[in-house]
Each structure stands twice: as C-alpha cells, then as structure tokens.
C-alpha cells in the first residue's frame, strides 16, 4: 500500500475515533436532509398549485364568453413561473423575483407574490437550502476537520516520527487531502445521489434545457469549491505555527469570504449602480408613454400622424372609410409605442443589474464563494439571467396576445362599433397556451465567464501551492 493511501487510512481511522467528526458529519447530513426534504415538499406543493392555477386561468381565458377583443385584452390572463425540481437545490433569487404576473393590454406589469415580501428580513441571509449548507456550513466542517491535520502532528510530537520514516511530504499532504475528500464524499454522497434522483425523476426537463448537464455541473462545481477549502485548510495547517493560529486564520478567511465580502460587494454595487424606486420607474414609463420618449411626441400627435398617413395611403377622407377599423390599428400602434417605452426603461434596469452583477463577477475572481454562489444559481435556473429570460418570454407572449386582439378588432369590427362587436371562443383559442423552455445552460454560462475563470484559477493556484509544499521534505525545526 502506498504511503499516501496509508496516511489517508490512518487519518480516517483517527477522525472516526474522535467522535466530534462523526457528530459534525451527522449534523451536516441532517441539515442537508432537512433542506432537501423541506425543499421537495415546497416544490411539490408550489408545482401543483402553479399547474392547477395555470390550467384554471387558461380555462378562464378560453371560456370567457363572447366580448369585444379589447375587453378581452384587459380581462387578460395570469402566467405563473414554473417550478423546477433542480431549483430546490438552490432557491437563488426565486424569493425576490416573484412567482406570477398579470398580462393585459397597455401595461407590462411586474411579477407579484415575492416570498421575500411575506417573510422576515432573515430571508435576506438565505433560506435553509442545500446550496446554503454546501456553500457556508460544509466549509466550516472542513475547517474543523482539517485545521489541526499538521499542527497537531507537530504539537503532539508525531510529526518527527512520521518524517523519520522516509515518507515524502507530498505523500503526507495528499494523503491527508485524500482522507478529508473521502470523508466529505461519504457525508455528501447520499445527498448528491438524492439530488440526481430528484432532478432526473422530476418532470422539469420540458422546462429546463440540459437538466442532466446542469445537475452534473452543480456537483462538479461544488466538488471543486469544497476541494479548495480542503486544500487551503491542509496548506494552512502545514504552515501555521500552532493549531490555534491555523484555526483562527481559517475562520477569519471563512468569515471574510462567506459573510463580509459578499455583503460589502452587494452594498458597493447597489451604491455605484443605483436602481430607481418602483414609483419613479413607473412614473417615468407613464410619462414617456403619454409624451413620447423624446418628450415632444404626445399620444395625440402620434395618433394624428398615424391617421394622416393611413388616409393618405388609402386615399380616403375619413377613418370611417378605411377598409379596416382604425381603432384597432390605433390600439396596436399605441401598444407598439409602449413596447418601445418599456424596452427602453426595462433595458436601463437590466443594464444596471448587469453592471451590479459585473462587480460581483469581478469580486468572484478573488472570492471562490462568490463564484460558486453565482454558478450554483445559474445551474439551478434561479439566477437573474434565467429570470430575465423568462420575463422576456412572458412579455413576448403578452405582446402576441394583445396583437391578436387588436388585429381581430381591426379586421372584423367597424369604427365606433365598440359595444356592438364581440369576438368568441375561436379567437381565444387562436392564442396558444403559454409554455416556457429555458435557454441552454451554455448560453446562460456566457454571463459567468469570470466566475468559471475564478474557480479554475483558485484550483490551479491551490494545486501549485500544494505541489510546492510537498516538493521537498523541509527541515522540521528551522
């Protein structure tokens, strides 16, 4: 048996006999089990409610009876953000982005029912999810497991006997890393198997692209992240003067990486790239819809210009003489102008989000916690870019719905015939049922290049440090 394997075997045996490791392992397993179980119950409940309500709203739309298409456009419908099994791994921004949206003419509403609004401020520190346990608590377990792996050998006097056997420092370092990796794998394996089964068994594949790739990427990236903590803890223990110093160093780094730095970066990005208040945002949109994006094209002027163009094009004297209902065309023109206004204002908001996220991405180059935080949300489909994609698909569906209503009004009703004309079930059926499919994970990952580079760079750096430390058997007391 190679010295590396012998060292790993010995570390595992000693760790098991020191009950604290077993106790910490049980705590982590319990927390993961609770988070997965609670997440799965919540997922099942939400999924069932969403599917049931979405079907009810579709039925309401189809069976709304005969009415004027514009009234139908205001009757509108609701779209619910579908819940995927993999999102129970990392709730991400789900608590802040809202779960449903009301679609109607003229207005691009924001998402409603944000769980964060209904909870205490504690939700801002993160709900108990598997991601939270893996990102924050498991590194703490690693620190407690590994901080003394070399300092204790030195302090108890076994290090000199160990080195006098002719075993290389490389075998010692990698033997200990292998031991901690195996112990951690044993603790986390049931959880990861559970995640694979839940995501594979769920019916999320019709919503999320590359479900299996996402699951694998989640496991691989968390594996890399946790390996970094193992490598850093072993390296610190190797170089620390005492176990106390090693523990203090590791805990300080843990606090900075997982608590202080993410909060500081979030605060700095919010202050550097300020989002408008909801009230100001809505007021600006209403202003631009009424007065034009340039401030000099009021709605009345735009309607007058459209009327003049159409009268000229069809060579008629009044809108009543046009071969279609001018009101329908006017409504659609108004909608299309409001699309420009919404796209302009939402574009600015997205740009601000993008700048804020950019800062977080840059910070992730020096903080692997921030890398895994963003990547974990991306793989789970609960990140900002996945939400923006869903929001755009929903808005495109709203625009399609209103266009169908306005076109029907223009083609099938007469000018001034608002109360007389009524469309029916045939028109409502023309609007397809809403369905959503996420973009591929690769297109989402384009937004997280820095996070990936950061994580890989830290891995390479840690391997270099470990190889450097293990390259020569350094004198013990110099």
């Amino acid at each position: 048996m190679s010295p590396l394997v012998l060292v790993a075997k010995k570390e595992i045996k000693v760790a098991i006999r020191e009950r604290i490791v077993v106790a910490l392992g049980v705590i982590i397993t319990l927390l993961l089990a609770i988070s997965v179980y609670a997440g799965f119950l919540s997922y099942q409940q939400q999924k069932s409610v969403i599917e049931k309500t979405q079907a009810e709203k579709r039925e309401e739309w189809l069976n709304q009876g005969d009415k004027h298409p514009h009234i139908a456009a205001h009757f509108g419908t609701f779209i619910f953000k579908p819940k995927t099994a993999i999102s129970l791994f990392d709730f991400g921004l789900d608590a802040f982005t809202g779960t449903s949206i009301y679609l109607e003419a003229h207005h691009q509403h924001e998402f409603m029912f944000r769980p964060a609004q209904d909870h205490s401020t504690m939700i801002r520190f993160g709900e108990l999810s598997a991601a939270l346990v893996l990102k924050i608590l498991v590194p703490l377990l690693i620190i407690f497991l590994a901080f003394g792996c070399f300092t204790r050998e030195r302090e108890s006097g076994t290090f000199s006997l160990l080195l006098s056997q002719g075993v290389s420092m490389r075998s010692l370092v990698w033997g200990k890393i292998l031991a901690f990796s195996l112990m951690l794998s044993c603790i986390l394996l049931p959880f990861f198997l559970c995640t694979i089964l839940l995501t594979a068994g769920g019916d999320s594949s019709n919503i999320l692209h590359d479900l299996h790739i996402r699951t694998m990427l989640l496991i691989v990236s968390y594996g890399a992240y946790l390996f970094l903590f193992i490598a850093f803890a072993v390296w610190t223990s190797l170089h620390a003067a005492s176990g106390r110093n090693a523990l203090l160093t590791l805990l300080s780094v843990w606090i900075v990486l997982t608590i202080l730095m993410p909060k500081v970066v979030a605060n700095v990005s919010e202050n550097l790239y300020v989002l408008p208040s909801m009230r100001a945002f809505k007021a600006d949109i209403e202003h631009d819809k009424a007065h034009g994006l340039d401030g000099a094209s009021p709605r009345s002027a735009r309607i007058a210009r459209l009327e003049a163009e159409l009268l000229k094009e069809y060579q008629v004297d009044s809108v009543e003489e046009l071969p279609f209902n001018f009101e329908g065309v006017m409504m659609q023109a108004g909608e299309e102008y409001s699309h420009q206004v919404y796209d302009h204002h939402f574009g600015k908001i997205k740009e601000t989000f993008s700048r804020q996220n950019r800062l977080s991405s840059i910070a992730s180059l020096i903080n692997p916690y921030m890398s895994i935080q963003n990547l974990s949300m991306a793989f789970s489909g609960t990140d900002i870019y996945s939400f923006i994609h869903f929001e755009e698909v929903v808005e495109s569906y709203r625009r399609e719905m209103i266009r169908k209503m306005n076109n029907d009004m223009a083609e099938n009703s007469k000018y001034g015939e608002f109360y007389e004309y009524a469309a029916g079930s045939e028109l409502w059926h023309e609007l397809r049922d809403f369905s959503y499919r996420s973009p591929s994970i690769w297109s989402i990952l384009k937004n997280y290049t820095l996070e990936i580079i950061g994580l890989i760079a830290w891995l390479v750096l840690s391997l270099i440090l470990l190889f450097q430390s293990g390259r020569t058997t350094k004198p013990l007391y110099d």
Binding site: R17, Q165, G166, V167, T472, T473, P475
Partner: protein, 233 residues
C-alpha cells in the same frame, strides 16, 4: 555508515554545533554524552535532516542527508526521548502504520510478536496508546526499530525516564542491533549505559566534540571523572 564532516549549526550568533567530525561504522554504538545544550540532539536532528546545517555535511551510507532526505531516512530508525504515537490508535495499529510508511508489510501475528519481544505486555497490544505509559510507548518504538530492519539507529536520550527494567531491555535491543551490524548513534546522559553498551563514546561541550574514545579504553570511573572534568571546566 554515519559520517559528519565539519558539521556546523548556528542560530544567529549562537553556535549549537561547531565543526563536528564523526564517523560511526557498521556494528558501532557511538554514545554522545554531554550536558543539556551541548549539541547532542542537534547532531541527531542534523542526521535526520530535521534541521539544515549551516556548514559541513551529514552523510548516511555516503549520501548527504540534505540531498537525499527520503532515501537516507529509509535506512534509519529513530527513537526520540519521548516517543509520541497516535493516542487513538492501538500499539499494534501504530506499529503497522509506521512500518507501512517505511515500506514494510507484516502480518498481525508478526507485529504482535515484535511488540511482545520488545517487552510490551500482551494485553496492551490491542489497547489504544492513550492508555500507555512512556515506557510502553518506547517499547513500541523498539518494535518499530526492529521491524524496519534499519542499518542505522538514531537515538535521542531513549532511556530517559525509563525504569531500570525497561532500560535494561533497551540495552538488549542495542546489543541485538549491534550483532546485526547496525550503526547506532545515541545521545544520552546515562554514563553507565554508555559504558555498558557503547563501543565508542564522545563527550560534547558547547557544540564541540571535546573527547572521543573507544569505550573499552576507559573504566567507568575514568569515564565519570573525564565527564565531570569537562562539565566543570
């Protein structure tokens, strides 16, 4: 087998070992005597490459220990003053682990035999080392030295704190090793043990090897007088 050539170790202005020239051949037991801080442990640590020399060379089997640290350690066995083992492993598990690191794989029966022959009570073999006395731990160290079949033995005050019976058993080990042609370098305060088991004796003072002779050339009384003379000067 063991050779020190102008071996020197300085810590700033303090010279812990000053230009030591020493050679220990196969079957020799070289006992280094001297007060605390004389440079005995420094010499052992230099041969173990636990510290690096400021000047000079320490060689084991003609290999510079700083150039072939792992290779030279494969040739030696080391027992410190207070042998520390893993308290949560049994004596047998500790022995198995350290033998394995040195590339030796023995059956449980053979390891048990080694421990018993080294004087460890049979009912302690399967007990965790946390319940062992210092003497018991030293016996595991003796078993390890036997098991490793090393050609060099480095001992840093190995009998310090041992009861007379355990010390006597330890002397038996040294003689057994001597018969097998093992070169032994032992730092000790025990003049009687040095005279009784050593083939050569050196007296160190303030980092300098001030006397070096074959143990057969002096009586115990002469050795004591010589030692005290150097300690008082």
């Amino acid at each position: 087998m063991l050779e020190a050539i102008k071996l020197t170790k300085r810590y700033g202005n303090f010279t812990a070992l000053n230009s030591l020239n020493l050679s220990v051949n196969q079957g020799d037991i070289f006992c280094l005597l001297g007060a605390n801080g004389a440079g005995k442990s420094t010499t052992i640590n230099l041969f173990l490459n636990f510290i690096s020399p400021t000047e000079g060379t320490a060689k084991i089997n003609s290999i510079d220990v700083t150039k072939g640290p792992e290779e030279t350690k494969k040739l030696l066995s080391y027992i410190p003053e207070n042998l520390k083992l893993y308290p949560n492993l049994t004596g047998l598990e500790n022995l198995d682990f350290f033998c394995g690191l040195g590339g030796k794989k023995y059956s449980t029966n053979h390891l048990t035999e080694l421990l018993t022959e080294s004087g460890l009570q049979p009912d302690f073999i399967q007990k965790r080392v946390s319940s062992y006395s210092k003497g018991m731990r030293q016996k595991v160290g003796i078993a390890l030295a036997r098991a490793r079949e090393a050609s060099v033995l480095l001992l840093d005050e190995p009998t310090s704190g041992l009861d007379p019976k355990a010390s006597n058993e330890f002397s038996s080990l040294l003689l057994e090793m001597k018969e097998r042609g093992v070169a032994t370098l032992m730092a000790t305060h025990d003049l009687f043990r040095a005279k009784d088991t050593g083939t050569h004796i050196g007296i160190m003072k303030e980092g300098i090897l001030v006397e070096q002779f074959a143990s057969d050339d002096v009586s115990f009384r002469d050795l004591e007088s010589l030692y005290l003379k150097h300690m008082h000067n």
